[in-house]
Amino acid sequence: MAEENEKEADSTQTGVFPVVEKPRKLSRAASSTISSWSEFLRELRHNRHTRGLVSSLILIALGAGVGYAFMAQQRITNTSYDALSESELVTLLDETNNQITRLETQRTQLSQQLDSIQTANNKQQEIERIAQENKDANDILSGSTAAYGPGIQVTISQGTKKDVSAASLFTVIEELRNAGAEVIQIGDVRVVTSTYVTDTKTGLVSDGVLLEAPYVIKAIGDKTALQNAIDISGGVGSSLRVNYGSTVTVVQKSKVDITALAHSFEYKYAQTVE
């Protein structure tokens, strides 16, 4: 006997090591995981952790926090530049470049005026002539006089999918400006530098005036360029149609009357250079 035992101990053959299993905790059910719907329902009813009132309230509060934060975040994402696609960003960049070009043209114009004043024989008269020209232009720009000229009329109906947002209406104005619109009017509001559009509970408000759908926007400028600015594929017109479900109609007119005047503006800080 002893010999045999020694033989066994001397054996050098290695077998497969026995698998040591961690003893499974014996829970109420035989299996430790849920594998059927009835088990799931039973677990819902009997799990001691999900039954207490306090723990339920904490869970509800945490869940509500997540849900609420989600919706709030989703609202931000809808309105910020982050959410814009690459092509939209490219369009924005193009618009900015257009604006730079226009500003440069303006600079050239102004230096020409300066040159003509400096070279003119009758300086006083030349200054007055240019001042009058600038005044006429500024009156139109600042909205203190009515204006007419060739242009377009854009009619945007209220969206069928969702209400037209202030941001999209503002984009329409921006597009018109970039396309060289000289005078713009939304509804009964003359668009000037300080004009704003904002969402309120009752609808869109611009410069304190409630805008009613359909929104009628008139603009004076190059008719074709203005129409292209709205109707260009992938532009603001199609985004209004696709995203809001509103109908956008653009009509070219040889005479657009813009009669709305901007509120006169009291300058508080700025003073003119004499």
Binding site: T50, S55, F70, M71
Partner: protein, 110 residues
């Protein structure tokens, strides 16, 4: 479960109540939401594994959210906030996927 009920309540409230998210919170809110989603799915998974505990859930929820925010905050201090945001989102995304697949295995046993 109570948490799912809570999410529904939160979303409904979020639809009707418009609040402005303060600017300082804006870079952190999406991270917090994703981290919280991960914690919720982890809770769902542990429920199916029968070791769900509300205490563990609450702590993991808060620590998840806090860690994610802290990482992004440190990133913003070091000037790599957008990269760290991406890193956090990727890691949490992977975890969400694995949690969902674990839950799927319990529900469909496949």
């Amino acid at each position: 479960m109570a948490a799912v009920l809570g999410i529904i309540v939160g979303v409904v409230v979020g639809i009707f109540v418009h609040t402005d998210v303060p600017v300082w919170l804006q870079p952190y809110l999406p991270i917090m939401v994703v981290a919280a989603l991960d914690a919720l799915l982890g809770a769902g998974r542990s429920f199916f594994e029968r070791n769900f505990s509300d205490r563990v859930f609450v702590i993991s929820f808060l620590s998840n959210v806090l860690t994610a925010v802290l990482l992004v905050y440190i990133g913003s201090l070091l000037g790599v906030s957008s990269q760290l945001t991406t890193a956090v989102i990727v890691v949490l995304g992977i975890r969400i996927f694995s949690n969902v697949s674990a839950i799927r295995r319990f529900i469909f046993s496949a």
